[in-house]
Every structure is written in structure tokens, then in C-alpha cells.
């Protein structure tokens, strides 16, 4: 096989499996669904691993697969750019996808939509691979929208539920708001660069740094700033940055495996990947980077707060995802693109682990998702317990675990950044550490330790995945089978080790050489980090040992301690705080009012304007006054004109001839 065939096979195998299972799954034995799709994605993973290995030693591959369309001087192509960035993304995507495929066998076992689900997640894998492997903006947009489509289908997987079909429509529309900016950004790139091919755009970019365009009146805007901000609006939609974050918490209506795959590990990080891929453009605009930095900081901090008051196990993890996406965005804004990608990778492992762990808990609890009904699950679900603990420790940045390396690097980068807004960013990510540790361990303690609260629970309605009920007081939770446990264990391994192994080559080696471009003179953060590494840390172990005495670690530790004190030692305190600070609690419960605002202003506003335009514009003015008005006018006029209708042919003929002559005279004169 040539390399091109291998590259083609990587996205096409999952696509093929998705098509076969999607079209014929119902006719084939049930097991075919998972056998085929797992085979597809496993082969895809194996090939991706091979490609990553190959990319370590060879030059980037940048070739067209086929010409999509030509128009005038522009040509649009489908092609692959395989360098270390895309190869790494391919491995992460296919690995997490493989884990989720296996996990799904257990999680969706009883669901009627079993084959449909496998078809969708394989289709998703295809779309995500097309996105990361693209060598041009058009195909990037294709993958971008295709993952959005599958996300729509999967959030609304249980399409009879009102909440699910509300959430999937909302997710799609909010993402479309982001795509609105993204498409305009792509349009400006094509207009000013004459191509959508990454390589040609990036090679010309430095010469475009000083180009000014005028959009409103004569005010001059830097072209690169406009393009980068527009592209970033796309990233804000997909990667759920404030204020386009509102769809992600609601997306938890989808089955848990896809929350892990799409809404934690892969799709939502597409925006981060995109900005990192566009580093040669973003580096040319400090203004755009400041916007990125500030949006990221707001997301990192304020979404973290919301995690504190959630009681639905999936929503806690969802808000933590939002906050972590904010961290990645901060890294991008600080020009530490490699750090953002590094955190993207570690986060993919530990967040997928946390979600799948949450799914395991949900199964054990018979589809009760309220953490207030859980407790002491460590006794019944040891594998889930240990792996979830590992995931939580990685998330809060415990030294030596993967999350520590990536998160501490982001904090350092925010500290070292010099662009506008970096002070706030540093503050936000520091406070975020404490908040993250607090809500993560609040959940951990409530779920795995303490009293077995379902035993004392009165049975009413629960929010759940399958419309089943929770545990009865006499029931005991059971850990699900190996198809659930194996992915947890396989994800726990990289959650522990990947940071330790990968930090030096990825951030300070030449892994991203020629892939990510940083203007060190203007944006020195990464340069300082490198200096710090070589002068102070030297090794991964050195960084971890230093980390034990650092401020972030203190904050994380105190967050854990506070969670322990509140939820293990003195469970009466949180309730009192809730009453005492009811205003703050109210604001948090309303999620800062974003949903209400969007619902009232944008959704209701559009419907209101639409109705008015229809009733007043179309019905009253155009149809009422003009069309029917003309008819009425003619009706009245005809009463008068009728008198002219003598019934004599020659009168008519005369009038017609006069008319024709008049018309011709008028036209031939001018």
C-alpha cells in the first residue's frame, strides 16, 4: 500500500462501516453492527498509529485526493495534509473512538437504536478524521459541519424526548452562529489569498500582515485581525466558548458514550485544533490573540463556577469540559499553541475516562444521574472507582499525572504572556484550578464515598438516560461487564502517563517544528517556557517535583480539602451557604441568564419579526394593498370603463391599433 492509500483508508474504513451498518444493519444479525464498526475504527486506529510513527521521521505529506470543483481562477480540492499535528489528532480520535465503540456494546445493549448508534459514531469518526486530515479550509469546513450533523443526530438520539430534541436543535443552531463567522473568515481568506489551500495561504500570510481593509465607513481594520476573529467565532461555536457555550451542557441529553467521544474528547476540541493549525495567521494579529485569550479566560473561570452547583453527574463533567476548553483557548491566546494541543490530548484521555466512568455509574445506579442519590459506590464498583479517581486526579492537575503537565504549562504560559488581557487570564486559570478541584472532588466524594443515599430515598421522578428508574432502597449497584471496564482501564493508562512522556518532545522538542509557527519576538510566552524548562525543570520529573511546591498545586489541594470538608465532614454547611448566598446561587442556577436571554431575545425575537414581516409585509401590504388592491381597483375602474365597451369590433380594433402605435412611438423615440 502506498501512503496515500493508507491515508485514504483511515477515514474511509469507518465511513464504509457506517454506511453498511446504517443501511443494512437492521437486516443483519445484531452483532454485525459492532463487529463491523469496531473493525473499521480499530483498523483506522492501527493505521493512524503507523502514520504517526511515520510522520515522526518523514516530511509532511500534502497532496490532493481529487479536485472538487473549479470556478474561474479558483479551484477547490479534497486533500490531505499529514504532519505531526494531524497524525497526533488522528491517533487520539481513533483511539478514543475505539474505546467508545467497545464501551457502547455494553452501554447500549438494551437500546432499540443499537445499530443506528454504531452507524452514527462510525460516521462521526469519519467526519472528524476528514476535519483533522484536511489540507484546506473548504474540507475543514466540510468536516466541521459533518461532525455537527452527527452531533445533532446523536444528541437527539432518543428522539421521543422533548428535552433531547430541544437540545439537538439548539446545539445545531448555536453552532451555526459560529459557522456564520467561520464561513465569512474563509471567504475573506479566499478573496485576499486567492486560495483555500493551507500551504499557499500560510506562505503568503507574512506579506499580508500589514494589509488594511475598510468595513464600516473609512475606518481601517487589519485584515489578519478580521480574518482571525471571524475564524475564531467558528471555534467559539464548536469549542463552546462563552457566549456560544450554551449548547454543550444541554448536549448531555445524548447517550453517555457520545458525551465522552463528541462532547468531551474530540469534536469540541476541533476549534482548538483549528486555531493551532492556523497559527501562522493568528500570530500576525495580537488583537485577535487578545480576544482569544479573554474569551478563553472567561470560559475557564465562569463555567467552572457552574460545575459547583450541578447535581447531574454528566452535567458536572460537562461544565468541567467547558472550563477545560477555556484553558486550551487561553493557551492559544498566549501563543502557546503546542501547549493547547498538548492539553487537548491529555484532556481527551482523562475526560473521556471521566465520562465513561460516569456512564458506568449511571448504569450501576439504574439510570439515576443525580449524585445526591449516590454514595459509597467504591464498595460495589471498584474498577469504576479507581479509574474515576485517576481521571479526577489528572483533571485537577496532580503532579506526575497527565493533566498536571498540560495544565501547569497553560498557567505558566498565561503568566508569561505579554499581550493585553494576560493578567486576567493568569488570574482566571489560577482560580479555575481551585474551582476545578473543588467540584471534581465534590462529585467524587458524593458518588464514591459517604452514605449509600439511595437506600433512604423516596421514589419520585429522576432525570435519566433510559426512562428507567433508579435503584430501589434494597438494591445493590453492580459494576458492568468487561466491555465497560476495559475501555476505562485502557483510558486510565494514558491519563496517568502520557503527560510525563510527551511533554518534553511536544512542547520543548521539535515535534511541532514547521507545523506550529510562533512569532517569539512579539509573543514570547513559549520562548520563556522553553527557557524555564531548560534552566529549572530539565525533566518531566523535575517539573512534577517543582509542581508539588507551586501555587496551582496548593490551590488544587485546598479545593480537594474543602470538598472533603463540605461533603464528607460537614454536609450541613453547603446547604447553609446556599441559603445565605441565595443571590449568587440564583445566578448560578440560571447559568448567568444566557439561556433565558437567548430564548427571549433571539428565538422569540426572530419569530416575532418573522410573524410581523409575514402578516404586515406579505399579507397586508403586498397581497392586501398591492395585489388584491389592484384587483379591486380594476373592479371599480371597470365600472367606468365598461361604458367604453360598445360591443363593436371596430371600436376595439381601433383602440388596439392606437395603443400599439403609442407604445411603439414611445419606445422608438427614446
Amino acid at each position: 500500500m502506498t501512503m496515500q492509500q493508507i491515508y485514504l483508508a483511515i477515514p474511509l474504513l469507518p465511513l464504509l462501516a457506517a454506511i453498511i451498518v446504517g443501511l443494512f444493519g437492521k437486516l443483519l444479525p445484531r452483532a454485525t453492527s459492532h463487529v463491523l464498526t469496531i473493525f473499521g475504527v480499530a483498523a483506522s486506529f492501527a493505521l493512524s498509529a503507523f502514520v504517526l510513527n511515520d510522520a515522526m521521521s518523514s516530511a509532511p505529506y500534502n497532496e490532493t485526493v481529487y479536485s472538487w470543483m473549479k470556478s474561474g481562477n479558483f479551484s477547490f480540492e479534497i486533500g490531505f495534509l499529514i504532519d505531526r499535528l494531524s497524525a497526533m489528532m488522528m491517533v487520539v480520535v481513533t483511539f478514543v473512538s475505539l474505546m467508545v465503540h467497545i464501551y457502547t456494546i455494553g452501554y447500549m445493549e438494551e437500546d432499540e437504536g443499537y445499530t443506528r448508534f454504531f452507524s452514527y459514531i462510525s460516521l462521526f469518526t469519519f467526519a472528524m478524521l476528514m476535519l483533522v486530515m484536511s489540507n484546506n479550509f473548504m474540507q475543514l469546513f466540510f468536516g466541521w459541519e459533518a461532525v455537527g450533523l452527527v452531533s445533532y443526530l446523536l444528541i437527539g438520539f432518543w428522539y421521543t424526548r422533548p428535552t433531547a430534541i430541544y437540545a439537538n436543535l439548539k446545539a445545531f443552531l448555536v453552532n451555526r452562529v459560529g459557522d456564520f463567522g467561520f464561513l465569512l473568515g474563509i471567504g475573506l481568506v479566499l478573496f485576499h489569498f486567492g486560495s483555500l489551500d493551507y500551504a499557499s495561504v500560510f506562505s503568503v500570510a507574512p506579506q499580508m500582515a500589514d494589509v488594511q481593509i475598510s468595513l464600516v465607513g473609512n475606518a481601517q481594520w487589519s485584515l489578519m485581525t478580521v480574518i482571525c476573529i471571524l475564524l475564531f467565532i467558528g471555534a467559539m461555536g464548536k469549542s463552546a466558548q462563552v457566549p456560544l457555550h450554551v449548547w454543550l451542557p444541554d448536549s448531555m441529553e445524548g447517550p453517555t458514550p457520545i458525551s465522552a467521544l463528541i462532547h468531551a474528547a474530540t469534536m469540541v476540541t476541533a476549534g482548538i485544533f483549528m486555531v493551532a493549525r492556523m497559527s501562522p495567521l493568528f500570530e500576525l494579529s495580537s488583537t485577535a490573540l487578545s480576544v482569544v485569550l479573554i474569551i478563553g479566560s472567561i470560559t475557564a473561570l465562569f463555567m467552572g463556577f457552574l460545575g459547583v452547583i450541578q447535581n447531574d453527574i454528566k452535567r458536572v463533567v460537562a461544565y468541567s469540559t467547558l472550563s477545560q476548553l477555556g484553558y486550551m483557548t487561553v493557551a492559544l491566546g498566549a501563543s502557546a499553541y503546542s501547549v493547547a494541543i498538548f492539553h487537548l490530548m491529555t484532556h481527551a484521555f482523562f475526560k473521556a475516562l471521566l465520562f465513561l466512568g460516569a456512564g458506568s455509574v449511571i448504569m450501576g445506579m439504574h439510570h439515576d444521574q443525580d449524585i445526591r442519590n449516590m454514595g459509597n459506590l467504591k464498595k460495589y464498583m471498584p474498577v469504576t472507582w479507581i479509574t474515576s479517581l485517576i481521571g479526577s486526579l489528572a483533571l485537577i492537575g496532580t503532579p506526575f499525572l497527565s493533566g498536571f503537565y498540560s495544565k501547569d504549562s497553560i498557567i505558566e504560559a498565561a503568566q508569561a504572556s505579554t499581550i493585553a488581557g494576560s493578567g486576567f487570564a493568569y488570574f482566571a486559570v489560577l482560580v479555575g484550578v481551585f474551582v476545578t478541584a473543588f467540584y471534581s472532588f465534590r462529585m467524587y466524594f458524593l458518588v464514591f464515598h459517604g452514605a449509600e443515599k439511595w437506600r433512604t430515598l423516596k421514589h419520585d421522578s429522576h432525570h435519566d438516560d433510559h426512562h428507567h428508574h433508579g435503584l430501589m432502597p434494597a438494591d445493590e449497584p453492580h459494576e458492568p461487564g468487561w466491555v465497560i471496564k476495559l475501555p476505562l482501564i485502557l483510558l486510565a493508562i494514558p491519563s496517568v502517563f502520557i503527560g510525563y512522556i510527551a511533554i518534553e518532545p511536544m512542547l520543548y522538542g521539535d515535534f511541532f517544528k514547521d507545523v506550529i509557527w510562533v512569532d517569539s519576538a512579539a509573543h514570547p510566552a513559549m520562548h520563556e517556557l522553553t527557557h524555564h524548562w531548560h534552566s529549572v525543570f530539565h525533566t518531566s520529573a523535575g517539573m512534577a517535583l517543582h509542581g508539588l511546591m507551586s501555587l496551582p498545586f496548593m490551590l488544587a489541594a485546598s479545593g480537594v480539602a474543602l470538598a472533603w470538608f463540605f461533603y464528607m465532614k460537614r454536609p450541613d454547611i453547603p446547604a447553609k451557604i446556599q441559603i445565605k448566598f441565595s443571590t449568587i446561587n440564583h445566578i448560578l442556577e440560571n447559568k448567568y441568564g444566557f439561556d433565558t436571554f437567548n430564548e427571549r431575545v433571539f428565538a422569540a425575537g426572530s419569530r416575532f419579526i418573522g410573524n410581523k414581516l409575514w402578516q404586515i409585509g406579505d399579507v397586508s401590504i403586498i397581497d392586501g394593498a398591492m395585489v388584491n388592491g389592484t384587483a379591486n381597483f380594476i373592479g371599480k375602474l371597470s365600472v367606468v370603463v365598461r361604458k367604453l365597451q360598445t360591443g363593436l369590433i371596430y371600436h376595439y380594433a381601433f383602440a388596439m391599433i392606437i395603443g400599439v402605435f403609442l407604445m411603439l412611438t414611445f419606445f422608438t423615440k427614446v
Partner: protein, 501 residues
């Protein structure tokens, strides 16, 4: 024999369906509607096959008129039977013969009264519309243009809904008003040039004020057909009253007659006026895209919603015309083709529901996906294409027009891009209310999923939508040379040198 066919291929594509329609009428036996159906299908199939060589024998490097043929028709007035097709006309001709075939299959057991007349109307209309797309003589064009309205009136008037008379009259008045002004323009051009040859008009220099009048006369005729805001209100009414097949042809082809004619007449004959008035044209297009999308959002009737969506999508077509660059113009043509497939599919989907429940109201449904899963899959797919999802044909045209518009003015593209949000909003909101949720009522509970015939036509359309979305190059290869030629016509000033009068 074969050579004779190739030399007169356009005549064959026009007259085979017309004759087939007449044959179906003549041979109809009321007691044996199935024989009528099969003969209509045969007629449609042969008509479609006859049009295929237009693609296979097409010269992709030639932007001018190919397959030309003709003879002198009325020598006294220099009126010729002159046919020819370029890279703009050929795709639309193929779309016409293809859609007619789909309509015949879709009517199979749905139409029970006057089967032969129904089938014949569509066959004859197909030939006449192909005539519009291939006439190179103004009078010939005008005859086809007016003649195709007759079967359309009959389709709405006979097989239409309860309010069909109002809809037909409204449709008739709107189009008649426009057509008359167009005829005046033709007479003026004839008196000035002594010819009805369209290509002669291309060479005829005119001062700007004359061009503006000519352009406006054409504009009224074509804007009604497309339809552009504010002369669009006949379309939702016509769609609501039309039977499914009527809606399909109306949306998929009849609207394109207007778009096609802009490029064939108004813009190349009066290019300076087209530039002079382009600001207004762009404004009307953008109003169509945004205003109409918002109106679509609040529709309660599925057919009205899709009708408004059509108007909004046709806004992209006219926007693409008047930004005068390759991407915009070619995108507009792609958008016309894509809208042909997608709107046909959407109306057929409504037809599938209407045949079972006899309601077009969104509120009559809910949870249809529970009882009709295969149908729901198709409906979601076509809804996504309507919302312009990449990978479907709906994306290609909009993408090209937006990229073209941004080269003209950033804010044109900005406003046009609202379709990303509104297009998704009105389409998917309808999908949500019709297909998702719990089974809403007993009628929905009793629904039967697609039969083989319905499945077949939706599958064919889905394949086309997907093929054009994944690989639009075969289409743009056809249009490339023609678009370049059209643009050079549009940009070459025709103002007389020296004195203007």
C-alpha cells in the same frame, strides 16, 4: 438515422415528451388507468434518455451555443425556429427531463382521477419548458414561455386544493403582467434590429436609458417567475393549492425559467443597465434571503414553509447573478440545479405525508419518526441539504455565492450568510415538530412507512443531492466556459460610441 437524431437532438428533447403526452391522452382508457401510467412512464423514460446525449456529447471547452439547428419559421417577420443550448441551458434541460420522470413515478397511485390528463400535462409541460431553455429566437422563446403556463394552470386548476381558483388567478395575473412587458421589449428590439435572433440582440448597442427600460421590462417578467421579493406572494399560494407533482415542477423547474432568462436576455442584452441597477437587484436578493427566511420560520403549513424557503434560496441565485464574478454566477447556476433536486424532494416528502393524513399543517403531526423511520431518515437528510450542509448539493451553490459576494462587498456576504442560521432554523424546527417527539395522535400512530415506489424516488433524489455535494465538478465543468463567456458579455459595455441618442 443516428446522425439525424444527433443533429436534431434539441428538437427531439422538446417534441418527444410533447408527442408522448399527446399519445398518452389519445390512447387513454379510463377503465385501465394502469396502462396509462405505464405508457406515461415509458414516455417519460424515453424523453429522459433522449436528453442524455446532451451531456455525453457536450463540448466542455465551448462556452457558446451547441447543438444548434433551425429553419425559417415565419419569413415575413424574420422569425426562425432556432434552437441551441450552452453550458447554462444543458444542465437545466437535463433537470427538466429528470424531474418529469420523477413526477410521473410519484403520481403513480396518488392520482386517481383523470390519470391520462395529469400525466399528459406533465409530459407536455416538460417539452415546453425544454423549449424555453433552448429557444434562440425571441418569438419561439415567447411561445414556449407562455405555452408552458397552460398545463401548469390545468394541473393546479384540476387537481389542486380547495382554494385553487384564487391561487391560479393570482398566478396568472402576476405572470401575465410580466410577460406582456417582455413582449413589448421584444417588439422594440425587433423594430430596432429587424431580427428576432437573440444573438443579434447581444450585439445591438443601446444608450443607457433604453437599456434600463428594456432591462426593467424583462425584469418584471423574470422577477415574478423566480420569484423575487416583492412579487413573490403568488408562489406560496400556488404551492399550497397545487398537487404534489405540480409543486415539484413549479419549484424544481418553473422558477429556474426566470433565473435562466435573466442570464439569457436581461443581462446580456442590457449589460450596462444590469450594472447600473445591480445595487437594487442585490438589495432585493438580500431582502429575499433574510426577510423571507424569517417569514418561513413562522409558517404553519409545510408547503408554505418550503415555498418561502424556495424564495429565500432563489435569493442566492439572483445575488450570484448581480455580483458579476465567476464564483457568484457559477454558484447561482449550481444553486438552481441543487434547488431543483432538494425542493423536489422536500415537496415529495410533504406529499408522502399528505397522501396519508391529508393535512399539510405542521401541528397535525409529531413523532412521525416513530412510525416511519425510513421516511424520517430521508426527510432529515433533505432538511439538512436544504439547510446547506456540506457534502450535499445545498452547500455548493450557497458556498460559492457567499465566497463570490465577499469579493464584491463584505456586507453582502454577511447578510447572505444569515441563511446558515435561519435556513437551519426553519427547516430543522419543522423537522423537530413533525418527525421528533412522541407519537402525537392516532393518525400518526397509524402511518405506514414508505412503499417501494416512494422509497425509490426519494433514494434517487438523495443520490443526486449527495453526488452533487461530494463531487460538483462534473456540473461546473459544463458551466465553466459558458460562465466565462456570459461574464464577458455582461462586462462589455454596449453603450453606443459617441452620441447617446
Amino acid at each position: 438515422m443516428l446522425n439525424y437524431f444527433y443533429h436534431h437532438i434539441l428538437s427531439f428533447t422538446i417534441w418527444v415528451p410533447v408527442l408522448a403526452g399527446i399519445a398518452v391522452l389519445a390512447s387513454a382508457d379510463e377503465n385501465n388507468p394502469n396502462a396509462t401510467r405505464w405508457s406515461a412512464l415509458l414516455g417519460g423514460l424515453v424523453s429522459f434518455l433522449v436528453s442524455i446525449p446532451l451531456y455525453t456529447r457536450f463540448d466542455f471547452t465551448d462556452g457558446g451555443f451547441q447543438y444548434q439547428e433551425g429553419f425559417s419559421w415565419i419569413p415575413a417577420f424574420n422569425i426562425n425556429y432556432h434552437l441551441g443550448a450552452d453550458g447554462l441551458a444543458v444542465p437545466l434541460i437535463l433537470l427538466t427531463s429528470f424531474t418529469t420522470l420523477i413526477v410521473i413515478i410519484s403520481a403513480w397511485e396518488v392520482i386517481q382521477k383523470r390519470v391520462a390528463q395529469y400525466m399528459a400535462c406533465f409530459l407536455i409541460m416538460s417539452g415546453l419548458m425544454i423549449g424555453v431553455f433552448s429557444a434562440l429566437d425571441a418569438i419561439l422563446y415567447y411561445v414556449f414561455w407562455e405555452a408552458m403556463l397552460i398545463p401548469m394552470f390545468l394541473v393546479i386548476g384540476i387537481w389542486g386544493g380547495p382554494n385553487r381558483v384564487y391561487a391560479t388567478v393570482k398566478f396568472f395575473l402576476y405572470t401575465l403582467l410580466g410577460s406582456l412587458l417582455m413582449l413589448v421589449a421584444f417588439i422594440y428590439l425587433y423594430l430596432s434590429t429587424g431580427s428576432f435572433e437573440i444573438t443579434d440582440y447581444y450585439k445591438f448597442a443601446m444608450p443607457l436609458n433604453v437599456q434600463v427600460l428594456i432591462f426593467l421590462a424583462f425584469f418584471v417578467a423574470f422577477a415574478v417567475k423566480i420569484p423575487m421579493w416583492p412579487v413573490h406572494t403568488w408562489l406560496p399560494d400556488a404551492h399550497v393549492e397545487a398537487p404534489t407533482g405540480g409543486s415539484v415542477v413549479l419549484a424544481a423547474i418553473a422558477l429556474k425559467l426566470g433565473g435562466y432568462s435573466f442570464l439569457r436576455f436581461a443581462m446580456p442584452i442590457a449589460p450596462d443597465a444590469a450594472h447600473h441597477l445591480s445595487g437594487y437587484m442585490i438589495a432585493l436578493s438580500l431582502i429575499a434571503i433574510v426577510y423571507i427566511a424569517l417569514v418561513a420560520l413562522v409558517q404553519k403549513d409545510m408547503k408554505k414553509l418550503i415555498a418561502y424557503s424556495s424564495i429565500s434560496h432563489m435569493g442566492f441565485v439572483t445575488l450570484g447573478f448581480f455580483i458579476f464574478n465567476n464564483l457568484g454566477l457559477e454558484g447561482a447556476i449550481v444553486q438552481m440545479m441543487s434547488h431543483g433536486f432538494i425542493s423536489a424532494a422536500m415537496f415529495l416528502c410533504v406529499g408522502v405525508l399528505y397522501d396519508r393524513v391529508h393535512s399539510r399543517q405542521i401541528e397535525s403531526y409529531g413523532g412521525v419518526a416513530n412510525t416511519m423511520p425510513a421516511f424520517a431518515a430521508f426527510a432529515v437528510f433533505f432538511a439538512m441539504s436544504n439547510a446547506g450542509l456540506p457534502g450535499t448539493s445545498g452547500f455548493v451553490g450557497e458556498f460559492m455565492v457567499i465566497l463570490g459576494a465577499i469579493q464584491s462587498n463584505f456586507w453582502y456576504a454577511f447578510l447572505a450568510s444569515f441563511t446558515l442560521i435561519f435556513g437551519a432554523a426553519y427547516t430543522l424546527w419543522m423537522v423537530k415538530r413533525v418527525f421528533y417527539g412522541e407519537v402525537a395522535n392516532e393518525q400518526v400512530a397509524a402511518l405506514k412507512d414508505l412503499n417501494k415506489r416512494e422509497f425509490l424516488i426519494l433514494a434517487i433524489l438523495a443520490t443526486m443531492v449527495l453526488a452533487l455535494g461530494v463531487y460538483p465538478q462534473p456540473l461546473t465543468d459544463m458551466t465553466n466556459a459558458t460562465v466565462t463567456q456570459l461574464l464577458s458579455q455582461f462586462t462589455q459595455s454596449k453603450l453606443p460610441v459617441g452620441l447617446g441618442l
